[in-house]
Amino acid sequence: MKILVITEQRQGKWNKTSFETLVAAQQIAAATSGTVSGVVIGKGIAAFADEVAAKNVAEVLLVEHQLLDSYTPDGYCVALRQVIESAKPDLVLFPHTYQVRDFAPKLAAMLGKGMIGDCVGFRDQAGKLVFVRQMFQGKTVADVSFAGNAPWFASFQSGAFRADLLEPHPVGKAPVKPVNVEVKPEDIRTKPLDLFKEAKSAVDLTQAPLIVAIGRGIKAPENIPLAEAVAKAIGGEIAASRPICDEGWLPMERQIGSSGQTVAPKLYLALGISGAIQHVVGMKGARTIVAINKDSNAPIFEIADYGIVGDIFEIMPALTEELQKAKS
């Protein structure tokens, strides 16, 4: 059985699951007396190919092209299709990465094949290769095998095989064979922009010493700047009870309470928050709680250190002004 392993590197860095997948390939090859070919794809990646060549593989196919510099699903599919058609493997393995999830099903479909994704193991069952994958969030596993003819496509989940079991090349180094692929600019329908990291939660309310939180009493999103002004004047973070975030007036990460963050700041200023227990459990650890609410029976006053029964729309601007005065 000839096994092709499509490794993944990005911007000069390996995706480590590539090596785990190489281990899987080595083990399948051992069970089926097959061979493993590593595939390295991109641009300016000779060093990566050498690294794979030092492992126990029969060969490394080096797929380089100007248009493969940045990952695009079209570019990878067009190139890898040619690699598969010329190398004629029985089995093509991928690490189950986000990038593989993006292009591998498309590649398999281009060749009229199915794919078994996200496998955690394999078995050689009387000459038939069976893949094992989890179902029901890992509560059960299923054996899956291919019905049609080779080449077959499968990907392995991160952590399914141990990278430290990767066998080095027995005598030194496998040959690195460049494969010429034709990729035309018009093949590629997407234009990669600069890579960016999704911003982590922009705020960490649990670290904020001063929090100004708003509740239903704020009435409309247009009124939020009034509270933000208070927060700015005091040098604190803005936060909210569930209804506000539920309406989308503030992002979810600013929600305090049983279904949001639990905080214990030095000062918690609750504006128009009634103090339902669901909110209170998220902030009752605050050192000082100041509550402003027009309903004198609001439960927030039971836990507040200081309370003002009044209209937040009168108090917020006045408070901002006083705070600014005090600072200057």
Binding site: F136, P243, M252, S258, A276, Q278, E302
Partner: protein, 551 residues
């Protein structure tokens, strides 16, 4: 683009790990084990039985009073007395009539309120125990997976599609999106409990309803730890009267558990005239009765929950067998509304379903014709004996308490027949009377010690849902809510929901329905009691919902 779903093939798929579903699984697994041990062919496997459960854990969504008649459990687990968590046997049964200030004990407790030989239990604990036995028997219970859709085939069903996971509130896939599985089975058992969402679909689509529509009650419960000596373990009392008007059907319960724990609750039929009746508030007010207050004072609320229950009985029982499937438990109307007991009947229905399935697996015939023997088994069992006697019971109360007592007395004398047999029932929501411009009453607030507002109680239900998911309460016409319903009924959803899910929020000059779906305790009241029948309760992402540990 159609989603490609992964398929899994089972022999038997049971939707819902409650008393009925688990009894079915356990009984079937033991029949299979005996069958295989005897060397009979074809060999069967309990590993091909799957159970779906939408709760985080087995038992998480189980709520009942509960007093259990142990006879089905004794058949299912003969040595149950050694291993089952039964809490405490009933030692004293009282029936009390409440007026606002005082209470009278009926000198001779009427037979329906006699509970000698029964046990006060936590249904959640019992179900957790059954779940352990089921899993030990080799059956897979998939927790945190709900049945979202049925796979229809021919005149029946061929399995279930589980709910999609990882959708955001607009229905777009998030990074963790996992499409629901297509679980195909030779036989699918609907054991969804009260007002099952798949059962509802199926009964309508395949015209399985009986001569009466299903009618429901809503039970609201609190579990309290009280001061030592306030109540004896095994003491059970049922209360009638205040604060429930004689126009309505309902009553309270007080059950003494071990370790100074008390189960209290109020059940009301979801068929009343005032669309602004608030069952949760009625329960809170009931707690202020001197008799109840005395027990609770100085104690502490431990847990809260609510659930509807099917009152319809025999004449509301849907046809419970069809090609590829059966209906068991509360979904199938196996509840005695006179004694308000359904646990043993649910379990028995599950066991009879298991016997039917076992035969079907041997003959390899899963058609309605083959599964019809389920119905025959029910007719020959104590399920029919018990339900037949009370076949007209609840209908007799649809016109108030006094009428009900008259009817029920006559039925008692005539073996359940009464004046009219079968007595017809009507949908509970048809009973609402328009508000005719009456102003809305003030909402109940609670004192925070003995009585609570709904949000505080919901907090004690342990309810949790993934916040960023599509709303699982599908309202088909929001326009009705903001216009017709405001005028005609004053938006009863704000009042009947015991979890403060529905709220009419001001928007400009008018109002708009706001749904706080994350509060939902899965009682199904909205699906039942909405006057326009435009609310569909569907399963949320698996794992969401209350945590009824100990309930």
């Amino acid at each position: 683009m159609a989603i490609q779903r992964e398929q899994l093939q089972a022999d038997v798929l049971i939707v819902g790990a409650g008393p009925a579903g688990l009894s079915c699984a356990l009984h079937l697994a033991s029949l299979i084990q005996q069958h295989n041990a005897s060397g009979a062919k074809p060999e069967l496997s309990a590993e091909n039985i799957y159970v779906l459960e939408k709760g985080r854990e087995i038992g998480a969504h189980q709520l009942s009073g509960a007093i259990m008649n142990p006879k089905a459990l004794a058949e299912l687990v003969p040595d149950f007395q050694k291993s089952a968590p039964l809490d405490t046997p009933v030692t004293e049964s009282a029936a009390l009539i409440f007026t606002q200030k005082s209470s009278f004990r009926i000198p001779i407790t009427p037979p329906p309120f006699q509970n000698h030989g029964n046990y006060v239990i936590s249904l959640s604990k019992l179900v957790k125990y059954l779940g352990g036995l089921v899993e030990a028997a080799g059956v897979s219970v998939f927790k945190e997976f709900g049945g979202a859709d049925l796979i229809y085939e021919g005149d029946g069903i061929a399995g279930v599609i589980t709910e999609d996971k990882g959708l955001d509130r607009n229905g777009n896939p998030k990074a963790n999106f996992t499409p629901g599985y297509e679980l195909r089975a030779k036989i699918t058992v609907l054991a969804e409990g009260t007002r099952g969402s798949l059962t509802k679909q199926l009964v309508a689509k395949k015209h399985l309803a009986n001569i009466n529509p299903q009618t429901y009650g809503l039970g609201i419960k609190e579990l309290w730890d009280v001061q030592r000596g306030k109540i004896q373990p095994g003491y059970v009392a049922h209360t009638l009267g205040w604060p429930i008007s004689t126009e309505m059907y309902g009553g309270g319960w007080i059950y003494g558990l071990s370790n100074n724990r008390v189960s209290i609750g109020l059940v009301v039929a979801l068929e009343y005239e005032d669309p602004r009746f608030d069952p949760h508030a009625a329960f809170q007010i009931w707690k202020t009765h001197p008799f109840v207050r005395n027990i609770l004072e100085g104690g502490q609320l431990v847990r809260y929950g609510a659930k509807s229950l099917p009152y319809g009985g025999w004449y509301a029982m849907p046809r419970n067998y069809f090609d590829g499937g059966l209906i068991v438990g509360d979904s199938g109307s196996f509840l005695d509304s006179q004694r308000l007991k359904g646990v043993h009947l649910a379990m028995k229905s599950g066991m009879l379903a298991a016997e039917t399935i076992f035969e079907a697996l041997q003959k390899e015939d899963y058609s309605a014709r083959s599964l019809k023997s389920y119905k025959e088994k029910i007719d020959q069992s104590y399920i029919k004996t018990e339900l037949w006697k009370v076949r007209n019971f609840h209908q007799g109360f649809q016109n108030g308490l006094l009428n009900g007592f008259l009817n029920s007395g006559l039925q008692q004398l005539t073996g359940g027949r009464g004046l009219v047999d079968p007595m017809r029932a009507h949908e509970g929501y048809e009973k609402y009377k328009p508000i005719d411009g009456r102003p809305a009453p003030e909402r109940f607030k609670g004192d925070g010690k003995l009585t609570f507002d709904r949000l505080t109680d919901v907090y004690h239900s342990g309810t949790r849902h993934e916040e960023d998911q599509p709303c699982h309460l599908k309202v088909h016409d929001l326009n009705i809510c903001a216009t017709r319903c405001v005028e005609e009924y004053g938006n009863p959803c704000q009042y009947f929901c015991p979890a403060a899910v529905y709220e009419m929020a001001k928007e400009g000059a008018g109002v708009k329905l706001k749904i706080n779906a994350a509060n939902c305790v899965h009682c199904k009241t909205c699906d039942i009691a909405d006057p326009y029948q435009i609310i569909d309760w569907v399963v949320p992402e698996g794992g969401g919902g209350p945590n009824y540990e100990g309930m």
